[in-house]
């Protein structure tokens, strides 16, 4: 019992992440606006579509346009159509035309939600854009934007609810990496001691690592389909991870090609050291050097801001897979199974 404490610990961790990660609501967000272009100097009405908002229940909902200098223009005549739809009217001064505006919506129930570059306001055809000063815009919204109580995951456009995949997809890769690490440890131990058990454990850990790698690619591909729009993109991290996967497939093929047990163990131990050494630059270094869609790669910030804020970290830091992954490494050769069996 005391020896297998992590097996028991794995279950509460698993249910904590599964339930907490799926039940915690997403922050409200703005999904779209109609129309997406308008002309400065004249009154125009825009319809705003939102997700997870409670416009009908809230006392009063405010709408602003925010220009690129961070100034606010309050909407007049805000009409709530439903919980997720409202309409507001604006007159954008001609001086501030020729740019796109961020739409900001606030009420006390939902807090604030924004749609960056939601609407583009062009100058009227017959006027020059510098004629009138930026009247109507204020430096402050005029209403205190108070964050509502409770834990909510950040709303990000395109990602939407799939931000929860952070707990399931990323954890798989961390589990894969830690399994390969233990596989490496046993490979080194085999080379030092030449004990058959270390070879079998090394094989078991590496094979379980491959399973997590395959699942990581499968879930990542599905995630990419519904966010980036394609099952497979030419993202550097995808391709490098695939190369790393093939190196470990090579490990399995290499093992099956030896008939001499000792030679097999020795060569595959050396191979798994090289495979692990190749894995580090492929997965952690090269994707950081170029552009990548993955957070934390190629100037794409991760583990900060909205990508992994404190609400997500609440469930991400407890890495359920890391705790339970070791469960799946099981040698399937006779000497190791004999070693596993309780001695009478």
């Amino acid at each position: 019992m005391a020896k297998w404490w992590w097996k028991i610990l794995g279950w509460p961790c698993f249910f904590y992440v599964l339930i907490g990660g799926l039940v915690t609501p997403l922050s409200p967000g703005l999904t779209g606006v109609v129309p997406t272009t308008a002309i400065a100097g004249e009154t125009f009405a825009i319809k705003i579509m939102a997700y997870n908002t409670q416009f009908s229940e809230a006392d009063k909902t405010y709408v602003w346009l925010k220009n690129q200098e961070g100034q606010y223009l309050k909407a007049s005549n805000v009409q709530v159509k439903s919980n997720n739809e409202l309409q507001g009217e604006f007159i954008v001064p001609i001086a501030t035309s020729g740019q796109s505006f961020t739409i900001v919506v606030y009420n006390t129930l939902d807090g604030s939600a924004i749609l960056p570059d939601g609407i583009y306001v062009s100058a009227a055809a017959n006027v020059t854009p510098t004629r009138v000063d930026g009247a109507g815009f204020t430096d402050e919204p005029g209403v205190d934007l108070v964050k509502p109580e409770g834990i909510r995951f950040p709303y990000r456009s395109i990602l939407n609810e799939t931000i929860r995949n952070t707990f399931f997809h990323v954890a798989l890769w961390m589990a894969m990496f830690s399994l390969y690490l233990v596989g490496l440890y046993h490979a080194i131990l085999y080379l030092r001691t030449s004990r058959k058990d270390h070879d079998l454990w090394s094989e078991a850990y590496n094979k379980a690592g491959i399973l997590f790698g395959i699942l990581g690619i499968a879930t990542g591909s599905l995630w990419a389909r519904y966010t980036w729009g394609s099952w497979w993109t030419n993202d550097i991290k995808l391709n490098m991870a695939t190369i790393a996967m093939f190196i470990y497939f090579g490990y399995v093929i290499l093992r099956s090609s030896f008939t001499d047990e000792e030679k097999k163990a020795r060569v595959s131990a050396v191979f798994s050291i090289f495979a692990f050494v190749a894995l580090i630059p492929l997965v952690f270094v090269i994707p950081r050097l170029t552009d990548s869609l993955h957070p934390g790669n190629g100037g794409n910030p991760a583990l900060g801001g909205e990508d992994l804020d404190h609400t997500l970290r609440l469930f991400f830091t407890i890495n359920h897979r890391l705790v339970s992954a070791r469960l799946l490494a099981c040698p399937t050769k006779i000497p190791a199974v004999k070693a596993l069996r309780p001695r009478a």
């Binding site: 599964l18 799926l22 997403l26 997406t36 272009t37 997700y51 997870n52 020729g98 740019q99 796109s100 570059d117 583009y120 062009s122 990602l159 939407n160 609810e161 799939t162 929860r164 995949n165 399931f168 997809h169 798989l172 379980a208 399973l211 395959i214 699942l215 499968a218 879930t219 599905l222 995630w223 389909r225 519904y226 966010t227 729009g229 799946l328 099981c330 399937t332 050769k333 006779i334 199974v337 004999k338 069996r341």
Partner: protein
Amino acid sequence: MSCLAFFFHVLLQAQSPENDFLRSTGKIYSVVAGIVIVFAGLAIYLWRLDRKLTKLEKHINDEHETS
């Protein structure tokens, strides 16, 4: 500059959202599908592992009986 802003704006709006089941309700079902993939993968792996171990246990037991 404003040209660039307009171009960027059009680019953002150009991705018309397709409406299918996995995209409904904020794409939550694609998360569910991901979890199902992981569960199915682990279940198949464990089932195969169990079959292999059963075979080995049988092998060891037979060996024990004959010796």
